[in-house]
């Protein structure tokens, strides 16, 4: 047997261990496995590589990707990740730890999750946050079941058509199999329509709604009257939020809503081709026992303050099929990204991030309109993302931008193109983008 860096077994070790067990060979330990199930062929895998070969292999793959200047959002935002974040999150005491069930040797994890919950509550204005979910869309999907659990006699959940397409899709997938009825609230002028909502509420069977804080067109929604309408009808309101934006726009609590969900990715998590990110869920105090996922709480030991996983009677390892969710592993380390990010930025830094993104986006919006290659679509306030109607062929536009090293002008279902600007993009980069657009011909 050759040696391998991850297997410390020497021939002598193996011999001694087998001796203690009373087995003649490693294969004998599989004596209970029917012979025809033991794989006898060669695994169709490459030969073992050295570490350097692995590194070269991935460098070659990496070179097949094109690193672009990202001017698209649509659920994944190219905000800057301060260097402290990878430094802290790669500490092996955090990285290689298991779920903090043994509180005595997990105070590091428990404490940052408690801080994370505090950050999410501060940003959303909610009373209680869980310890994290997989991503934003799955948090929204779990919110559907939470809505139905909070309002037992109602059966229908409404989604705003302004939610991101991937959020709608994941919610639909979960709901289809769980057997939950999903319907939609129409948009009017790019905004979730209160009138359409009221029409649906009149049926009397609406358990709750999910609406976006900033919708798929980048528009900041005005939810005056929504909470009252839904609450009067006995329903629950969930807002799907960009937690970075919540530092400067009205929170779900400000609108009088009940539950907040979304993706924590804009808070310091790299794009990484879509994951790992971190879903968040927060709610009013009254709903905490219906909330899925782990929760960390403060308590004491004989010496003083400490932290533990709590309210576990909601969870799968205790309640099995009666649990509020099947979630077990979540995205703990990504919650640390968020917590470190929020600590570094503070309210002031987050405000500046939003201000830079807002300013850059509005500058780009104006400059693009000046080129004469676009028409405005909506007359509504936006933050860092917006759509325009292209007056030139979209393929030509996208091709030109791509050649210039830009990922921008993502086409929407309606044939609009969307742009997103974050604090990472300076004026020169935006000006160069606009110059490329000017060169696009009919």
């Amino acid at each position: 047997m050759g040696t391998f860096a991850y297997f410390p077994h020497t021939d002598e070790d193996i011999r001694l261990m087998l001796e203690r067990i009373g087995a003649g060979s490693l294969d004998e330990l599989y004596g209970d496995v029917p012979r025809d199930f033991v794989f006898k062929g060669e695994y169709n895998l490459p030969e073992a590589m050295s570490e350097q070969q692995v590194r070269d292999f991935f460098s070659a793959l990496e070179a097949k990707n094109t690193k672009l200047k990202v001017f698209v959002g649509a659920g994944a935002y190219d905000h800057y990740t301060p260097s402290v974040i990878p430094y802290i999150t790669s500490r092996s005491e955090f990285l290689t730890a298991y779920t903090p069930y043994q509180a005595e040797i997990s105070q590091g994890t428990l404490r940052y999750i408690f801080e994370y919950q505090s950050v999410i509550c501060s940003l959303t204005g909610m009373d209680v946050s869980n310890a994290s979910m997989y991503d934003g869309p799955t948090a929204a999907a779990e919110a559907v079941r939470m809505i139905l659990a909070c309002t037992k006699k109602k059966t229908r959940v409404l989604l705003s058509k302004g939610l991101l397409p991937n959020v709608q899709k994941v919610v639909e997938t979960y709901s289809k199999f769980h057997g939950d009825q999903i319907d939609y609230i129409d948009l009017e002028g790019g905004l979730t329509s209160l009138e359409s909502l009221k029409k649906e509420l009149a049926a009397g069977d609406v358990a709750g709604i999910i609406v976006p804080a900033v919708n798929r067109y980048g528009i900041i929604e005005d939810y005056s009257g929504f909470a009252d309408a839904v609450h009067e009808a006995g329903g629950v309101v969930v807002e799907y939020c960009d937690p970075s934006a919540l530092a400067v726009i009205k929170t779900p609590a400000d609108w009088g809503f009940d539950i907040a969900v979304g993706d924590g990715q804009p808070l310091g998590i790299p794009l990484c081709f879509g994951g790992p990110y971190v879903g968040f869920m927060a709610c009013r105090k009254d709903y905490v026992r219906k909330m899925p996922g782990r929760i960390v709480g403060q308590t004491t030991d004989s010496e003083g303050r400490c932290f533990v996983l709590t309210l576990q009677a909601r969870e799968q390892h205790i309640r099995r099929e009666k649990a509020t969710s099947n979630i077990c592993s979540n995205e703990s380390l990504m919650a640390l990204f968020v917590t470190v990010y929020a600590s570094l930025m503070g309210a002031e830094g987050l405000k500046k991030v939003n201000c830079l993104s807002f300013s850059g986006a509005h500058y780009l919006y104006e400059e693009l309109l000046k080129t004469g290659k676009f028409a405005p679509v909506f007359d509504a306030p936006f933050l860092k993302e917006f759509v325009l109607k292209p007056l030139v062929p979209v393929e030509k536009l996208q091709k030109k931008l791509l050649e210039g090293g830009y990922f921008a002008a993502l086409q929407t279902e309606e044939g609009y193109v969307s742009f997103c600007v974050t604090e990472k993009h300076g004026k020169e980069e935006i000006d160069a983008l606009v110059e490329l657009v000017k060169e696009v011909e009919q």
């Binding site: 391998f4 020497t10 599989y30 298991y98």
Partner: protein, 473 residues
């Protein structure tokens, strides 16, 4: 480990900040937004310098135990070593900086990672194809069950709403079934800890969508009747789901696809060496047999492409393993488990003495020292677990599976040396001797950790769930 009792919020000072951002050269400002849309008061977040953040989290990390700190014999969790090259690969900017919606032609390298992993996992498991959308094991279970339901639905067979789950199953199995809208029917284990085939037979019928099996099961036992079970379930029209949480001992030895499973998930954060991160991110790719491959694209269970960063790490691990070493991983894991099992059975009750796979279960101490305790209560499994922490070992999984009252579930993995296992065995013997002599040492443990046992009852009765609650106290 020393105790550090601060929250980042408590380090906050007016006038401090930890960010560095460019100047605004655009001549726009947030005040242009209508007041009705603006947040009335700034969120309460820490105001701290960069060094405050770095010291705070470094101090927190030092109260944590990880695989890099010491041995983690946590049953059903497969806490194997997390290779460092994996981290380096996942941090490469050409992967880390990709937007998930970038045009196909600009992400050829990332696509190749998915294709390579699909092939590798197919080779290892005997399944035909995988979806990488699920972000964790339970998420994979849910996805797999969706695929099973969709399969029946496409055949117009909508009556199949029941799923059979053994009583020894992980809690996520019945919970995932419930989230998928399936009714859970429990099948009992027999005296040997295996699915009771005779008890299974009457449960099968036209309402059964399938069965979820963990093989080896949570007692670490190979379900050797799997061939018959597969035939019975298929005969009744159901499908077989393989919970990959316990795949590690079969890695390189047995392929679930060859045992007749139609759908399975893998935990890349267990079997394929990616770090647990204190409870995630994981990745739970779902593999299916040929006749179900068409369904994969229709089960959209996460926002983009799953946890790409985790998939990259697992791919690096598989390439390091290669076709030679993969054949040893499972066997060494099994060797280690049996070695511990045989070494401690004179101090800990071994309810099922037969050969185990990657893990096994003791049912508490043989002599819990009850006669030596002032109140007549001996040391429990919880006490053994807590005492282990004092000796620098993580605790095993305790009180699971539910089949035994004092369950102590041990999984050593293949990455631990004989010396480490011997140290653990010695400490376990010492703890057993302590219990017999003076169980109070165990009942008061841990003694050397950053905190003592926390008051969990008060935590649940009077929940303090965020910093703002704690200052109201």
């Amino acid at each position: 480990m020393k105790y550090y009792d601060k929250l980042i919020f408590e380090l906050s000072r007016e006038g401090r900040s930890g960010y560095s951002l460019p100047e605004n050269k655009f001549g726009h400002c947030l005040k242009e937004l209508p007041k009705a849309l603006r947040r009335p008061a700034a969120p309460e977040l820490p105001k701290v310098s960069e060094i405050d953040v770095v010291r705070h989290y470094t101090n927190l990390s030092q109260m944590n135990f990880g695989v890099d700190t010491g041995f983690y014999p946590l049953g059903s969790c497969t806490m194997k070593y997390n290779p460092k090259i994996n981290e380096e690969i996942a941090a490469l900017p050409g992967f880390n900086g990709l937007h998930p919606l970038q045009p196909e032609a600009t992400v050829a390298g990332a696509k190749a990672v998915y294709e390579g992993m699909d092939k590798a996992l197919a080779a290892i498991t005997g399944m035909a194809g995988f979806t990488f959308m699920p972000c964790a094991g339970a998420h994979g279970e849910l996805t797999g069950l969706m695929i099973i339901r969709e399969y029946h639905r496409r055949r117009g067979d909508t009556a199949r709403t029941k799923i059979i789950v053994p009583d020894s199953a992980h809690g996520t199995n019945p919970a995932s079934a419930a989230v998928c809208g399936l009714e859970v029917v429990e099948v009992k284990s027999n005296a040997n800890g295996l699915v009771d085939v005779e008890a299974l037979k009457p449960l099968l019928g036209p309402e059964v969508a399938g069965i979820m099996m963990t093989n080896p099961n949570t007692l670490g036992l190979f379900e050797k009747d799997i061939k018959e079970i597969a035939a019975l379930v298929h005969e009744c029209g159901g499908l077989l789901y393989y919970d990959g949480a316990n795949m590690n001992p079969l890695l390189g030895v047995v392929r679930p696809g060859d045992m007749g499973f139609d759908v399975m998930h893998l935990n890349l954060h267990k079997t394929f060496s990616t770090p647990h991160g204190g409870g995630g991110p994981g990745s739970g790719p779902v593999g299916v047999a040929k006749h179900l491959v068409d369904i994969l694209p229709d089960v959209k269970v996460s926002g983009f492409n799953g946890n790409f960063g985790v998939i990259l790490r697992a791919y690096a691990y598989i390439l390091m393993l290669g076709r030679e070493n993969v054949k040893l991983a499972g066997k060494y894991a099994t060797l280690s488990a049996n070695y511990i099992k045989e070494s401690l059975k004179d101090c800990y009750k071994l309810p099922i003495p037969s050969v185990c796979k990657h893990e096994f279960v003791y049912d508490g101490l043989i002599d819990d020292g009850a006669s030596k305790a002032p109140d007549g209560h001996g040391a429990t499994t919880l006490d053994v677990a807590k005492r282990l922490l004092d000796f620098g070992f993580h605790a095993p999984t305790i009180y699971f599976p539910l089949l035994f009252h004092q369950a102590l579930m041990i999984e050593p993995t293949e990455t631990e040396s004989k010396e480490t296992l011997d140290d653990f065995i010695e400490v376990m013997r010492k703890i057993a001797a302590e219990a017999a002599e003076n169980p109070m040492i165990l009942r008061d443990a841990p003694h050397c950790t950053p905190i003592r046992r926390p008051d969990e009852t008060t935590a649940a009765r009077n929940p303090i769930l965020k910093y703002q609650d704690s200052i109201c106290e």
